[in-house]
């Protein structure tokens, strides 16, 4: 099955081509949906097969390269189009194809009746194709190909409903914003790639990482490489300062938000940092930067999430916040914990988004949670699954989110500092609060919607079944990564599985100090208690005494407005970056440099060549005798030069 891994890339591509080329001709939605979903489904089965096969191999043989073809072989730059099948890529592959498959199925119901049905499925397939390239690539260039590919798909899907309005603008403006912000990150990534090639003379993962431990490279170089790569990651994974695009990305259809802007694409940055762990581990100062940025992002996004009223916006900020957690984990050297959180987050966040989609679907495209309320009895299945996901994300013990979050917090404390832990717990409290605020406002309390126009209803089975599967995974998904304090040194299956990937990085990172089991259990208990109290508080306020929320928000009006307006980050960027660039490029670059200097020169040359062409054209008279004459004259000249060269 490992050798068949290319099929997991090829099948979605075929699906994309089929639906893209013939989709508009096929009137039957079922055929389009089944083709779109089954290609991803089969890919998932193949990844499972490859996973099982890899599991059966001894640990040292678990990293396999599948070569597809030589891509470029130019002056020393030899790039093979090859896929690396190892523990990390398989883990990510299972998440992408598995969750992706469920979301495809869900979309069959969600997108029913949309005029762009075929377009939607072909884009989704294209996304899976690009994402699999990103994950499986065995060198930075293939990774970059996928990286750009998912960016493109994200752009296409955010602007999918290009004729609709979104907030103050249009969906295409939101799409453009996502694209441009990502481009800034990509620039950093490209610089990092150039520097890697410049330093190690290769772009192949295995070669680069092997050379990273043996080559005499200064820490400054490592820091620069890591910094550039991290800038790339902040773009794709929506971290400070490039997180502004993700909330706007909610302009796309909800399954897209679930698949691309929650479960898979946005974790690409985490994956990349984790893949290049050795490069980051060699740059301790950048590791701190990563951790701090992650932490700040988590805190900031969670605080914004406290007051948002759009159901998808809340989830979007929650995503940004959870991504911050992942970078915190990576920053303190707990790479496997970060990937673990990627996985559990994929389950419950996809579930939350799909649940939100189900609610939106049932509420006729209404997204404001202030206009929901008491939906529990109208959509029981959606409610239960949503409830489970909420428990998982808030970190209620026993569910998947608890294990991954606890692992991160513990590592933040053990390998970072107490402050990291404290802010982390604070964020977790906020998360618990806003998630239960969301839950309460949506499913409990008074029905605040207009009964004459809105008739809430449960979604069809094609949408609820994926919800249930994801709910199941959200519950049990965490048991593969139980904390060592409970299951012993080798009990954490997930960490053991990924351990070989991070071995070089872990050797580089010196972990100081020993921490007792007691300490760990104590911290865990504290965080659980704090989260539970936040839950209690939220439930109390939003189901029984909504006036408390009113009074608090009016008492701290300044703070409330600050949060509601997302710290005015968009406005600040607009005033400090966008406007100056626009003005500068219009006045200076366009009107002066481009029009006057460059255009002048180009047009001058073009005019010259144009005139020249008109003149030479006249030689072509149409008389065959002339043509023969020119030929023989040519021969005469050739022979003449031959005589001279004697």
């Amino acid at each position: 099955m490992i050798n068949l891994i290319y099929l997991t890339v090829l099948l979605p591509l075929i699906g994309f081509l089929f639906n893209g080329l013939f989709g508009s001709k096929i009137k039957n939605e079922k055929i389009i949906g089944i083709i779109g979903s089954s290609t991803v489904g089969i890919s998932f089965l193949i990844v499972v097969g490859a996973f099982i096969q890899t599991l059966s191999l001894p640990v040292e043989q678990r990293s396999n390269t599948v070569e597809i073809f030589t891509w470029l072989n130019v002056a020393g730059l030899n790039i093979k189009f090859a896929y690396l099948v190892d523990q990390l890529s398989l883990t990510m592959g299972l998440i992408v194809t598995g969750v992706g498959f469920l979301i495809h199925i869900y979309s069959i119901g969600y997108m029913h009746g949309d005029k762009g049905y075929w377009r939607f499925f072909s884009y989704l397939n294209l996304f899976i194709f690009a994402m699999m390239n990103l994950i499986l690539g065995d060198n930075f260039l293939v990774l970059f190909l996928g990286w750009e590919g998912v960016g493109l798909c994200s752009y296409l899907l955010i602007g999918f409903w290009y004729d609709r309005n979104f907030e103050k603008g249009t969906t295409s403006q939101a799409a453009k914003k996502a694209f441009v912000v990502n481009r800034i990150g990509d620039f950093g990534f490209l610089l990092g790639m150039f520097l890697i090639y410049f330093t190690f003379d290769s772009l192949n993962f295995k070669e680069v990482f092997a050379k990273a431990t043996t080559f005499p490279v200064t820490e400054t170089t490592f820091s620069l490489i890591a910094l550039f790569l991290f800038i790339g990651a902040t773009g794709k994974s929506a971290q400070i300062p490039l997180f502004v695009w993700l909330p706007d990305a909610m302009a796309g259809p909800t399954p897209v938000s679930a698949l691309i802007h929650a479960a898979t694409m946005v974790t690409a940055g985490v994956y990349m940092v984790s893949r290049a762990s050795i490069l980051f581990a060699s740059a301790p100062s950048i590791m701190i930067v990563v951790a701090v940025i992650g932490l700040l992002t988590a805190l900031m996004a969670a605080s914004i999430g406290l007051v948002q009223n759009d159901i998808k916006k809340v989830l979007a900020y929650s995503t940004v916040s959870q991504l911050g957690y992942m970078f915190l984990a990576a920053g303190v050297g707990a790479f496997s914990a970060s990937i673990f959180h990627v996985m559990t987050h994929a389950f419950f966040k996809a579930l939350l988004f799909l649940g939100a989609g189900s609610v939106i679907h049932g509420m006729h495209e209404e997204q404001n949670i202030q206009n929901y309320g008491g939906l529990k009895k109208y959509m029981p299945k959606t409610y239960i699954t949503f409830f489970i996901a909420t428990l998982a994300i808030t970190g209620v013990p026993g569910l998947s989110g608890f294990f991954s979050k606890d692992e991160i917090l513990w590592n933040a404390y053990a390998n970072g500092s107490f402050v990291f832990w404290l802010i982390g717990v604070l964020t977790a409290m906020m998360t618990a609060f806003y998630m239960f605020r969301l839950l309460s406002l949506t499913f409990y309390g008074n029905e605040r919607f207009d009964h004459h126009h809105v008739h809430p209803h449960e979604s069809p089975a094609v949408m609820t079944v994926p919800l249930m599967i994801l709910a199941f995974l959200s519950v049990v998904g965490g048991f593969v990564g139980m904390p060592k304090v409970f299951v012993g040194e080798h009990g954490n299956l997930f960490e053991n599985w990924l351990e070989p990937i991070y071995k070089p990085a872990q050797l580089k990172l010196a972990h100081f100090g020993m921490h007792s089991h007691f300490e760990e259990i104590l911290l865990m208990a504290i965080s659980v208690v704090l989260a539970l109290s936040a839950i209690y508080f939220a439930l109390k306020v939003y189901t029984q005494k909504p006036e408390i929320a009113e009074s608090v928000s009016s008492k701290f009006k300044g703070l409330y407005n600050l949060l509601l307006n997302k710290y005015f980050v968009d406005e600040i960027y607009e005033a400090s970056v966008v406007q100056p660039i626009q003005k500068g490029s219009e006045k200076l670059l366009w009107k002066f440099a481009d029009v006057k200097i460059i255009d002048g020169a180009v047009n001058g040359v073009a005019l010259l060549i144009d005139k020249l062409a008109e003149q030479i054209k006249k030689i072509q008279t149409g008389f065959v005798q002339y043509y023969a004459l020119v030929m023989i004259a040519g021969i005469a000249v050739v022979l003449f030069f031959l005589l001279f060269s004697l």
């Binding site: 073809f69 030589t70 891509w71 470029l72 072989n73 130019v74 073009a606 060549i609 144009d610 020249l612 062409a613 008109e614 030479i616 054209k617 072509q620 149409g622 065959v624 002339y626 043509y627 023969a628 020119v630 030929m631 004259a633 040519g634 021969i635 050739v638 022979l639 030069f641 031959l642 060269s645 004697l646």
Partner: protein, 476 residues
């Protein structure tokens, strides 16, 4: 000495094609259904011969007393010719009906011309080269003038014939001199004793005259004058074949002839000759094309420029650049046939709708044709990741390897100039308002040909290295 049976077996592709030609004639005579049957029969024939050749690429032998080479290089070229002919036949189904030249002879002549090309590509004897060349050329002369009712066709045919014969005269004179100085027509012989013969100035004159004759066939400046008139005047589908497969066949011969000489000591004479030819062709082709509004004529000049780029590879004269030329030719065949097919679809009766104006707003009439036309124009302009880019890239890289960096720079510069007129077509297709209303009739054949060429152009651009490796291994 008599050949043994295995040698005949190795010639199977040629024999099958020959039998096919005879069969085609018989079909026309006895069933009178040639028009319906022959397009499909020819397609199958080309498909079989092309793929049979390429499958047997590793059976690389010199047979019939070293007179011809089968497998290897010859297989690659056989493949190119046959696929080009296949695409032409598929693409021309609409066109020849529109122009009332839907004769069975059209197909028979295409088959014969392909046979001629295949003979040229396998030849290792100047006599065989000459026979193949004449077979191909005579078929082309006739094909160019197939539509007797139109004076432009007659004119093109006659011009092509007169100037072609003129060039053939020089080829024959060159052959005579080479034979006179070496006492043999075998290329193998020339190859082995090259240093000895090279002291004889008459031998160099003979070789040069041969090269000049073939420079005419590849449409290089200053032997290019026939190209615009003939390409413009001939039936569009025929132009597609002449400008691609015909050029490829002439290049296959140049590669053989130069392979004998350059691999030894790379005589400065031939290198200078092709350097000058290349510079003139790229610049003249690119610059004059800018002034053209008729698309067929524009592509004729573009074809001159492309001959120039390939001639850069000839000047470089190393194995890498020769493989690059072969790659370039294959890429050029696909992108050019694709472009000519679209032109033939847009073209109205009586040579109307050939100018850029008719392409304004094509996007609204047929998004598919618009997209494919842009694809081919991008490919011809040499913009990655299309096939054309890598063709140029390999050739220029070969030039740098032979310390001819200045030539590569000239090539890049004239590519830049050429971008202007290629992209102008794209601009018309997408950004101009329609100013003519007409219906485009497309049949399955044309659609297939366009899609196939488009796909191949992309494939060549995405997987250039694998193909290049294959070619490098067999061009020696």
């Amino acid at each position: 000495m008599p050949a043994n049976n295995y040698e005949y077996f190795l010639l199977l592709p040629h024999i099958v094609l020959s039998v096919g030609i005879v069969l085609s004639i018989l079909i026309e005579i006895f069933t009178r259904k040639g028009k319906e049957v022959l397009p499909w029969f020819s397609s199958l024939l080309f498909l079989f011969v092309g793929f049979y050749s390429i499958i047997n690429i590793d059976k690389n032998f010199f047979i019939f007393g070293g007179m011809v080479e089968v497998g290897g290089r010859a297989s690659i070229f056989n493949f190119i010719f046959n696929i080009a002919a296949l695409l032409t036949v598929l693409a021309s189904t609409d066109y020849i009906k529109k122009y009332g030249i839907n004769y069975s002879e059209y197909y028979i002549l295409i088959q014969s011309s392909v046979l001629g090309m295949m003979v040229m590509a396998m030849a290792h004897d100047i006599l065989v080269i000459f026979m193949g060349l004449e077979l191909m050329s005579i078929c082309f002369y006739i094909l160019a003038g197939l539509n007797r009712k139109r004076s432009s066709n007659n004119e093109a045919s006659l011009k092509y014939f007169l100037l072609g014969s003129f060039a053939t005269g020089f080829i024959v004179y060159g052959i005579a001199l080479v034979y006179g100085t070496t006492g043999s027509t075998s290329i193998q012989n020339i190859f082995e004793n090259f240093m000895q013969y090279f002291n004889n100035i008459l031998f160099i004159v003979g070789m040069l005259l041969l090269l000049i004759g073939f420079s005419f066939k590849i449409a290089a400046v200053p032997f290019h004058m026939w190209v615009p008139d003939v390409y413009q005047g001939s039936a569009t589908s025929v132009t597609g074949l002449m400008s691609t497969a015909g050029k490829a066949a002439a290049f296959s011969v140049l590669l053989i002839l130069l392979g004998t000489s350059l691999s030894y000591s790379s005589p400065i004479v031939f290198r200078n000759y092709f350097s000058v030819i290349a510079v003139l062709s790229t610049l003249v082709g690119s610059i004059i094309a800018i002034a053209q509004t008729n698309l067929k004529r524009m592509l004729a000049y573009s074809s001159i420029a492309h001959a120039g780029y390939m001639a850069i590879g000839l000047a470089a004269g190393n194995n890498y650049s020769f493989a690059g030329i072969t790659f370039y030719l294959a890429a050029y065949v696909f992108m050019n046939i694709g472009a000519f097919t679209i032109i033939s679809l847009i073209e109205g009766k009586d040579e109307t709708r050939l100018t850029l104006n008719s392409y304004a707003g094509l996007n609204k009439k047929s998004p598919f044709l618009a997209a494919m036309m842009s694809l081919f124009m991008f490919a011809l302009a040499g913009i990655p990741p299309m096939a054309g880019f890598f063709g140029k890239y390999y050739v220029f890289f070969g030039a740098i390897k032979s310390d001819l960096t200045w030539l590569a720079i000239v090539g890049v510069l004239s590519s830049l100039i050429s971008v202007y007129f290629y992209l102008r077509v794209v601009v018309y297709v997408y950004f101009m308002n329609e100013n003519e209303q007409f219906e485009i009739e497309k049949s399955v054949g044309s659609n297939l040909a366009i899609s196939l060429t488009g796909l191949l152009v992309l494939l060549f651009g995405i997987f250039p290295d694998s193909l290049m490796n294959l070619i490098v291994n067999f061009i020696k």
